[in-house]
C-alpha cells in the first residue's frame, strides 16, 4: 500500500485553508439577505457520477474527515439583529453529520436526476451549515452523489474547486489523512453584539467617509465638466448594459422559477476547444455558442424565427482570458441565426469582448455594500431589476485527472445552478478530457423538455464534427 501521494496532500492542505474569512463578502451578503428560494435562489447542486456505490461507512468517514478539514462545512451564518454589519460565520455547536448526509435508493439515473431537482428546490435550514449530500445507490451504471450547497458557502466555481480538492487521486483508502491546524472554534457570536459592533465601526469610520465625500464634492465644484462628463458616460454605460440585449424569446415563457428539471450532457472537450480555436474564442465562448446552437435547433423545431436572445455570461474584470477572481455577470445578445458553430463562436466572442468597453460592468459589485444596509427586500428588488436572460452559461474548471471518492471513480461532475429568472442555467465543468454539461431548465417555460434535450444533444454532435 502506497503512502499518501504528495499531490493529494498538497491539495488537501489547500482545502484546509479554503474560505477562511470570518465574514460574508458584500456580494455574498446581498445574495444571502435577498434570497427568496427557489425563485431567487442561491443554491447550486452538483451531481457526481460514480462507477460503483462506495462503501457507505468509508463514505461517511471520508465526509466526516472533509468537514473537519474544511471548517466552513461545520459553520453557520449568524446575522446581526439589525443589518449594520455583515453576517459572520460561527461554528455550529449542534453540528450533526447525519442531518447533512444520507443515502437513497433509485432504479435509474433519470429517477436520480428528478430526485436531485427536488432536493435542490427544498430550502435550507438557514440556522445550520449550508450543505446537504445524498448518495444515490441502486442505479445500473453505478452510483451518484448529489451535493447541494448554498452560494454563501461557495459559488459554483468554489464548489467545484472544493470538491476537486477533497477527492482523492487514488482508489485505495488513505490512512492518517492530514487535518488542518486544530482551530479554536470562534466564540458563538451574539447577534446583538454583532449589530452593536457593526454600528460602532460604522460610526468610527464616519469622519473618514465624510472627508472622502467632501473631497468628491470639492472635485465636482472645481472641475464640474469632468465630473458631469464622467457621470454621463457611466450612466450611458449602465443604460447600454441594461437595455441593449435582445428581448426574451417568446418560446421560453412563462417562467415561474418553481419547476426545475435537470439534464446532463457530455461533450468531448477537444472538439469544443478546436471549434473555439477556429472561431478565435475561448472555451467559455464555445460553451455559449453550444447552448445557442441547441436553442437555435429548438426554436427551428417550433417554427420560431427569433434572431437573438439575451444570454447571461460571466466576464472577468481583470484580463479577458484570465481566470482571475473578479467577475461580473452581464447580458449579451446571443445569435440564434448563425448555423455554423465556428462563426457562432466568433460572434459570441465579439459580444463578450464588447462588454469590456462598458465602464459600468462592475455596477452591481459596487452597489452591493450600499444595498446591504437597506432592508432585504430592497436588495432583492435590486437583483430583480437587472433583466433576466433566457439562459445563463458558465464554464468551470474541474479536476484535470481521474479522481476517486471513497474508492469509487468519479465519472462525471455536473453543476446545476439556480434559475434566477432565466429559462435555462447551463454549467460546463471540465473533467479530464470531457466537458460535463449540467442544464437546469425551468420546466414551466419550456413546452417540450424532451425536444430541448434532443436539440442540445444534436448540437453537441455538430460540435464534434
Amino acid at each position: 500500500m502506497s503512502d499518501v501521494s504528495d499531490e493529494d496532500v498538497e491539495r488537501w492542505s489547500g482545502a484546509a485553508g479554503w474560505a477562511a474569512a470570518p465574514e460574508l463578502t458584500s456580494m455574498q451578503t446581498l445574495l444571502w439577505r435577498a434570497e427568496r428560494h427557489p425563485v431567487q435562489s442561491s443554491t447550486s447542486t452538483v451531481v457526481i457520477d460514480l462507477d460503483r456505490a462506495p462503501d457507505w461507512d468509508r463514505f461517511v468517514a471520508a465526509t466526516e474527515w472533509g468537514t473537519r478539514l474544511v471548517r466552513r462545512l461545520r459553520q453557520r451564518v449568524v446575522e446581526p439583529v439589525v443589518p449594520t454589519a455583515a453576517p459572520t460565520w460561527a461554528d455550529d455547536p449542534t453540528f450533526d453529520l447525519a442531518y447533512h448526509l444520507r443515502r437513497e435508493h433509485v432504479a435509474s439515473r433519470e429517477e436520480m436526476l428528478v430526485h436531485a431537482a427536488q432536493i435542490a428546490l427544498r430550502p435550507f435550514d438557514r440556522t445550520r451549515p449550508l450543505w446537504e449530500g445524498v448518495l444515490f445507490e441502486g442505479m445500473p451504471g453505478g452510483a451518484a452523489y448529489v451535493l447541494k450547497i448554498h452560494h454563501a458557502l461557495a459559488d459554483p466555481l468554489g464548489t467545484v474547486q472544493l470538491l476537486s480538492m477533497l477527492q482523492s487521486g487514488q482508489r485505495a483508502h488513505t490512512p492518517r489523512k492530514p487535518l488542518g491546524d486544530e482551530v479554536v472554534a470562534p466564540v458563538e457570536p451574539d447577534p446583538v453584539d454583532l449589530a452593536v459592533t457593526g454600528f460602532r465601526t460604522g460610526v468610527a469610520s464616519l469622519p473618514g467617509t465624510a472627508r472622502a465625500t467632501a473631497r468628491r464634492v470639492g472635485l465636482a465644484a472645481t472641475r464640474p465638466q469632468v465630473v458631469v462628463g464622467s457621470a454621463l458616460r457611466y450612466g450611458a454605460s449602465v443604460r447600454r448594459l441594461l437595455t441593449q440585449a435582445a428581448p426574451p424569446s417568446p418560446e421560453l415563457t412563462p417562467r415561474t422559477g418553481r419547476m426545475w428539471s435537470f439534464l446532463t450532457l457530455d461533450a468531448p472537450l477537444e472538439s469544443l476547444r478546436s471549434v473555439a480555436r477556429l472561431g478565435g474564442g475561448t472555451l467559455d465562448d464555445a460553451a455559449v455558442a453550444l447552448v445557442l446552437g441547441g436553442l437555435r435547433r429548438y426554436h427551428a423545431r417550433r417554427d420560431s424565427t427569433v434572431a437573438e436572445i439575451p444570454v447571461g455570461v460571466r466576464v472577468s474584470l481583470d484580463r479577458a482570458d484570465d481566470l482571475g477572481n473578479r467577475f461580473a455577470g452581464a447580458l449579451i445578445s446571443g445569435p440564434l441565426a448563425i448555423e455554423d458553430p465556428v462563426d457562432r463562436v466568433a460572434a459570441v466572442r465579439g459580444e463578450v469582448l464588447s462588454l469590456h468597453t462598458e465602464r459600468a460592468l462592475e455596477v452591481l459589485d459596487a452597489a452591493a455594500p450600499l444595498l446591504n444596509r437597506m432592508p432585504s427586500f430592497v436588495g432583492a428588488s435590486a437583483l430583480r431589476t437587472a433583466e433576466a436572460p433566457d439562459a445563463f452559461v458558465l464554464t468551470l474548471p474541474g479536476p484535470p485527472r481521474r479522481r476517486y471518492m471513497a474508492g469509487a471513480e468519479v465519472q462525471g461532475m455536473y453543476v446545476l445552478g439556480p434559475l434566477p429568472g432565466a429559462a435555462l442555467t447551463v454549467c460546463l465543468v471540465t473533467c479530464g478530457d470531457t466537458a460535463c454539461i449540467g442544464v437546469n431548465v425551468d420546466a414551466s417555460a419550456v413546452a417540450d423538455l424532451a425536444g430541448l434535450a434532443e436539440c442540445l444533444a444534436e448540437e453537441v454532435a455538430a460540435f464534434a464534427g
Binding site: 449602465v238 478565435g280 459580444e351 465602464r359
Partner: protein
C-alpha cells in the same frame, strides 16, 4: 514632424516580417481611423448649409444623436439620416461625395494610416475598408488609398433614387463583425492571420474577429478595453488643422513675401541690374515668408540642384506651398510655365513680376507652340524651368499621371531633367486652405536624368513616375 513615429514604424516592420499574400486580410475602419473626424458630419454640415434640413428634422437629428451618446441606440441617428434621403438621386449623392472628398475629406486622411495601408498593400494583403458608413463616403477615400474592397452599409436604390431603407443591417458593432467574417469567407482570407484597425467602442466585435487587432487612436472606452484585452493601441498624428496662430503667421508671411519682392526689385533698380534684382527678390520672397510661417526644409541631395543647370526641374504638386518651397530650393535663374488664365490671378501677380513666367494659351495650340519655342530659347540662354508634370495639384499625396510637356522641352532644349520629390507640403498647407501651418518640409532631389529624346520618352516618364512613387512610399534616410 517629418517621418513616421517609432510606434508606426514598428507596426510596419511587424507587417513586413509577418505572413505575406492575399490570404492575409487588413481591415480598416473609416471614421476616426483612416480619416480624422466623422465623414458623416461633413455630409451633414453640407446638408445644413444647403438648407435641405427642416427645423423638425434638425431637432430630431440632434435629439437622436444625444440619445445615442447617452446609452440609447447609437445607430438610430444614421437611420434618421437615411430616411431623410428618401427620394434623392443616387448619382447626385455620389457626386456630392466626390466633391466633399476633394474639398474637405481628402485633407483629413491621416498620413500614418496611409503608410499602414501601403505597408499591407506591399505585403500583398487583401485590404478592405470596413465601416458603418455608406459607399458614397468611403469610395473616394478607398480609391485614393488604392483600396479595392468595401465592407459597408448598403442603401436601397430604386430607379436611381434612395428609398430611405438599408439593404441588410447597418454595419455597426456586431453587424460589422459579421460583415467582415462573411467577406473573409468569400475571399478566402484567414482571419487568424489578419489585421484590423478601429477606433470606437463599437469596433471591439469586429477587432476580436481578427488575429491582429489594433486600437487606432482609440476613444477612451476602447482604450480601456484594449488595455484589458492586451491589444496594442496606436496613436497616429492628426492632420494639422489651421490654428488661429497659424492663420496669423500666414498673413505675416504673405506680407513678408510682398515686402521681399519689393525690396529685391528696388535693389535691382538701384543697381541698374534687373536680372540680379529678380534673383534677390526670389531669395527674399521665399526665405522671408517661410521663416515667418515657421516652415523649414529638410533637403536630401541638395547638391543635385546645382550640378546640371540649366535644367528642367519636375516636382510633384500637392499644395500652394510647393511654389515658394521650390523657389527657395532653386534660388536663382529659373522660371515657370503657367496657363494664361493665371496671368491675372491676384495671388500670382506679384510672383509673376519676379519670375516672368512663360504663359501658354491652352485653348490655342498654335500660340502655345510659339510660346514654347520662346521657352526653349530662354532655357538655352541659362534660365532653368520648373514644371509640375501632374499639371494640377492633387487633393492627397497620391501621385497623378505625368504629362509629357516638360520632357518634350528637355528633349528640344537638350537639357537634363532634375526630379524633386516633395513629401508633406500638402499637410502643412492643404489644397483648399489658405492657411500655412508650421513644420518641416521633406524634400528629396533624385538623380538628374540627361539625354531625353522622343523615341523612349514614354517609358522613361513611366520609370521616373515610379521613382517618385517609391520615394514617397519609402522615404530615404
Amino acid at each position: 514632424m517629418s517621418g513616421l513615429s517609432t510606434a508606426v514604424s514598428d507596426a510596419i516592420a511587424a507587417i513586413e516580417a509577418g505572413p505575406q499574400g492575399p490570404s492575409v486580410g487588413a481591415f480598416f475602419d473609416l471614421d476616426g481611423t483612416l480619416v480624422a473626424g466623422y465623414t458623416a458630419a461633413t455630409f451633414y454640415g453640407d446638408r445644413l448649409k444647403g438648407r435641405d434640413v427642416s427645423p423638425a428634422e434638425f431637432l430630431r437629428t440632434v435629439v437622436t444623436a444625444v440619445d445615442g451618446e447617452l446609452g440609447g441606440d447609437p445607430t438610430r441617428i444614421a437611420h434618421v439620416a437615411f430616411s431623410a434621403m428618401r427620394g434623392e438621386s443616387e448619382e447626385a449623392f455620389a457626386d456630392l461625395g466626390e466633391r466633399l472628398f476633394r474639398s474637405k475629406i481628402a485633407g483629413t486622411i491621416r498620413r500614418e494610416s496611409r503608410a499602414l495601408v501601403l505597408a499591407h498593400q506591399r505585403a500583398g494583403h487583401t485590404v478592405a475598408v470596413a465601416s458603418a458608413a455608406t459607399k458614397y463616403q468611403i469610395a473616394p477615400v478607398a480609391r485614393d488609398l488604392g483600396v479595392e474592397h468595401l465592407v459597408c452599409t448598403q442603401l436601397v436604390v430604386e430607379d436611381g433614387q434612395f428609398t430611405g431603407a438599408t439593404d441588410g443591417p447597418m454595419l455597426w458593432g456586431r453587424h460589422k463583425a459579421s460583415g467582415v467574417r462573411a467577406f473573409a469567407r468569400e475571399h478566402a482570407v484567414d482571419l487568424a492571420q489578419s489585421y484590423g484597425y478601429g477606433n470606437g467602442y463599437e469596433d471591439v466585435a469586429f477587432l476580436s474577429s481578427v488575429g491582429h487587432p489594433t486600437a487606432l487612436n482609440p476613444h477612451r472606452d476602447l482604450r480601456a478595453a484594449a488595455a484589458r484585452l492586451g491589444w496594442p493601441a496606436l496613436d497616429l498624428s492628426d492632420p494639422v488643422g489651421g490654428s488661429l496662430l497659424a492663420a496669423g503667421r500666414t498673413a505675416v508671411a504673405l506680407a513678408g513675401m510682398n515686402a521681399g519682392v519689393g525690396l529685391g526689385l528696388a535693389y535691382g533698380l538701384a543697381r541698374g541690374d534687373m536680372h540680379e534684382g529678380r534673383n534677390a527678390a526670389i531669395r527674399l520672397a521665399t526665405h522671408l515668408p517661410m521663416a515667418l510661417a515657421g516652415v523649414s526644409m529638410n533637403v536630401l541631395h541638395q547638391e543635385r540642384l546645382w550640378t546640371h543647370r540649366p535644367a528642367i526641374f519636375v516636382a510633384n504638386h500637392q499644395s500652394s506651398l510647393d511654389i515658394p518651397v521650390l523657389g527657395r530650393l532653386l534660388e536663382r535663374d529659373f522660371t515657370i510655365v503657367a496657363k494664361k488664365e493665371a496671368r491675372w490671378d491676384p495671388r500670382a501677380v506679384v510672383g509673376s513680376v519676379v519670375i516672368d513666367p512663360a504663359y501658354i494659351d491652352r485653348s490655342d495650340s498654335e500660340s502655345a507652340r510659339a510660346t514654347l519655342d520662346g521657352v526653349v530659347e530662354r532655357i538655352r540662354s541659362g534660365t532653368s524651368l520648373m514644371i509640375f508634370p501632374e499639371g494640377t495639384r492633387s487633393a492627397t499625396p497620391v501621385l497623378g499621371p505625368f504629362r509629357k510637356g516638360a520632357f518634350h522641352l528637355a528633349a528640344q532644349a537638350g537639357v537634363p531633367v532634375v526630379p524633386v520629390v516633395l513629401r508633406n507640403t500638402g499637410e502643412l498647407m492643404r489644397r483648399s486652405s489658405l492657411v500655412l501651418n508650421p513644420g518641416v518640409v521633406d524634400v528629396c532631389v533624385l538623380e538628374p536624368e540627361t539625354d531625353w529624346s522622343v523615341d523612349d520618352m514614354s517609358e522613361r516618364i513611366a520609370a521616373l513616375r515610379t521613382k517618385f512613387e517609391e520615394t514617397l512610399a519609402r522615404w530615404p534616410l
